[in-house]
Assembly symmetry: C2
Homo-oligomer: 151 residues x 2
């Protein structure tokens, strides 16, 4: 339960874009398909743009596209963007781990690091090309959505 809403939204958005071979999607449409409040997506997408994951065009016929091949975007990349360190506890991050206050050379930390590494391995091993393939087909029946988002 540690993945924030925004992280979730971001990954859904990238998946949606991955299923849309190259064509741009307007924020509004993206919000509808992913069932994300538009106003929140308005914050999430620029973050990914700054990070070079997506690219945007303004004006009519504008929208968002992926800035790379889906095969080059890992889940890890997106999650890290919004989530920060993936370690379950701050003494087990890879950069600047907080020192353990317990003497007994925190044997617990080893386990936390294993969890961290397993997480990284999994998230780092999945690209959005994989996810799109597994999802099968382009997009399915937007009409089935709960009447779109109010935002």
């Amino acid at each position: 339960m540690w993945v924030s809403r925004r992280t979730d939204y971001a990954t859904r958005a990238i998946l949606a874009l991955s299923l849309e071979n190259g064509g741009p999607l307007k924020l509004e449409e993206l919000a509808r398909r992913t069932a994300v409040p538009q106003s929140v997506l308005e914050q999430v997408m620029p973050t990914m743009r700054t990070a070079g994951v997506v690219r945007s065009e303004r004006g009519p016929a504008g929208g968002y596209r992926l800035n790379k091949d889906p095969g080059e975007i890992t889940l890890e990349r997106i999650v890290r963007l919004f989530q920060g360190p993936l370690a379950p506890i701050s003494c087990a991050t890879r950069h600047n781990p907080e020192p353990c206050p317990m003497m007994v050379g925190c044997t617990l930390r080893d386990v936390w690091e294993e969890v961290r590494d397993a997480t990284i391995t999994l998230l780092g091993g999945v690209t959005f090309a994989d996810l799109a393939k597994r999802a099968g087909g382009p997009w399915t029946d937007p009409a089935l959505l709960p009447t779109a988002t109010p935002g």
Copy 2:
């Protein structure tokens, strides 16, 4: 970064008790050794008592002991007590997962479930007997502690 302080404290406390072959430890001493504010441990320990993990005795010469063999207490058990579901996202819990709002049968969920399962496998595979063994020896130099906790 998803393990709460209280979860951390609880695991440290159980490790400390595991290193103390059977003898009871007073809350105060436990707090000192684990570098946890005593007032917080006062909340954490009863939770574990209720869960049957530790046992307590009141009055002089009282304190806490493990209620089972350290080999029968997994990290998973303790983490779950304080952390709740281990899934990274609420649509991927084993019990009553929240339905995914995205149609495309949330292919992302599969990955979240893999992360969840990897976490469970790791945490469930480590007992406090393992941890105590890895820690080596009983307890090390409590004198090295940052002058105990103020609480």
